[in-house]
Symmetry: C2
Subunit: 201 residues, 2 copies
DNA sequence: GGGTGCCTTGACCGGGCGGTCAAGAGAGCC
DNA sequence: GGCTCTCTTGACCGCCCGGTCAAGGCACCC
C-alpha cells in the first residue's frame, strides 16, 4: 500500500498500457463484466504483470478515476487562468470542461458507473468537490463585483457541474450528435441560471 | 419472453417482494456484486422462484428501471396538471421530480449505474426521453406565450433534467443533508436558466 | 377422485472469476 | 562472472456465479 516502487522506463510504459487498455474495456463492457484475464490477454502479458503494477482490479479503477479528475481540474484551471473577468473565466472553464468530456467519453462512462458503488463514489466525490470549489471561488468573485445575484456559490457551481455532466453523458452514451448549438445553449443556460433574472414568479 | 403468464394474487406478492428486496440490495451493494442467491436467501425462497418470475438478473434490473421511470413520469405529470400557467406547471413538475428522487434514493443509484452499461442505458434513454418530452412541451407553450426566450425546448428540458438528476445524486450518494434552501436554489436556477436574461456577454 | 395449472424446492452444472506464487528472465552495476 | 532488483510467466487455487431441472406440493376446477 504505502510502499512506493521504483518503476523503470519500461515499467512505466507497461503500466500505462495496462491502464489505458483497461479504461477502454471498462468503458465498452462495464467494469465488472471485464475480467482481469481479458485485460492481460488484450495487452499480451501474463496475469502476474497486472498484480505487479496494481493492487487489485478495484484499485485500478480508483486510480483511473483519480487521475482523470486531476486532469480535468488542470484543464479547467488552465482555461480559467486565460481570462481576467470572473464571468469570462467562468464561461471559459465551462467550455473547457465540456471539451474535455467530449474528448474523454470513455472516462465519462466510468464516472457514471463509479457513482453507483460506494467505494468509487467516495473517490469521485473528493475529486468533484475540488473542481466545484474552483468554480465556486469564481462565482464568489463575480458576486463581489455585482455581476451575479447573491446566493450560495457552491450550490451554483454544483448546478453548473450538473449541466456539464449531463452534456458529457450525451457525448458518452448518446447515439445522436452533439452540435455546436447544443454546447452554446448549455453554456448560456449555465450563465443565465447563475446570473438570475428580475422576472416574476 | 413474449408469453405472458397469469399470476395469482400470491404470485404477484412474491414477485413484488423479490423486486423490492432486489432493488434495495442492488442499491446498497451494486448490481453485479449482488448475487441471485443473496436475493433469494434474503427473501427466504428457493432459487427456482427467482427464475419463475424473472427471465434473468439483467431482465430484472431492466424491469425495475422501466417501472421506476413510468412512476416518475406519472408523478411529474400529475403535479403539472394541477396548474394552468406553463411556468407554474414547469415549477410544479420540477419540484415533484425532486421530491420523487428524494423518496426513491435507491432507484436513483440504480439509474446511475444503468447509464454505464449499454443494455440498461437503452432502457433509461427511452424512459428519460419521454419524461423530457413532457417538459419540453410545456416549455414550448411558455415560448408561445412569450414567457421564455426562443430556444430549443428539448435541450432546455434536458438541462433541467440534468440539474434535477444532480440534486437526486446528492440525495442518493451524499453524506450531507439536502435542505429546503438547496431545493429552492435549484428550482430557481432551472427557471432562470430557461427564461434567459438580457444581461451582456 | 382426477386433472390442470401455478408455484416451489435445492442439488447440481459448467465455467469463469479475482488473486497467488514459485520459478526464472533481463538489464545494469561491480 | 556474480549480485541485485525489476519484471514476467502461467499453472493453479478456492470460490461462487448465473442458470437449469426433475420432482413434488398446493389450490381450485370438474
Amino acid at each position: 500500500m504505502g510502499e512506493k516502487r521504483q518503476l523503470t522506463r519500461r515499467g512505466r510504459e507497461r503500466r500505462d498500457k495496462l491502464l489505458s487498455y483497461a479504461t477502454a474495456r471498462f468503458a465498452e463492457n462495464g467494469f465488472h463484466p471485464t475480467s482481469v484475464s481479458e485485460i492481460v490477454n488484450g495487452v499480451g502479458v501474463g496475469k502476474g504483470v497486472f498484480y505487479w503494477y496494481f493492487e487489485s482490479k478495484d484499485q485500478l479503477l480508483m486510480e483511473i478515476l483519480r487521475e482523470s479528475l486531476r486532469d480535468l481540474r488542470q484543464t479547467q484551471a488552465a482555461a480559467m487562468a486565460a481570462h481576467d473577468d470572473p464571468l469570462q473565466q467562468l464561461e471559459a472553464g465551462i467550455r473547457a470542461s465540456i471539451a474535455w468530456s467530449a474528448a474523454n467519453t470513455d472516462i465519462t462512462r466510468l464516472v457514471l458507473f463509479g457513482w453507483s458503488e460506494t467505494a468509487f463514489a467516495e473517490v469521485l466525490r473528493r475529486g468533484r468537490d475540488i473542481v466545484v470549489a474552483d468554480t465556486a471561488r469564481l462565482i464568489d468573485e463575480a458576486i463581489d463585483q455585482g455581476q451575479i445575484l447573491e446566493g450560495d456559490a457552491v450550490m451554483m457551481a454544483l448546478a453548473i457541474r450538473a449541466v456539464i455532466d449531463q452534456l458529457a453523458r450525451e457525448y458518452a452514451v448518446g447515439d445522436g450528435e452533439v452540435g455546436e448549438a447544443m454546447v452554446d445553449t448549455t453554456v448560456r443556460m449555465c450563465l443565465d441560471g447563475v446570473r438570475g433574472t428580475a422576472g416574476a414568479s
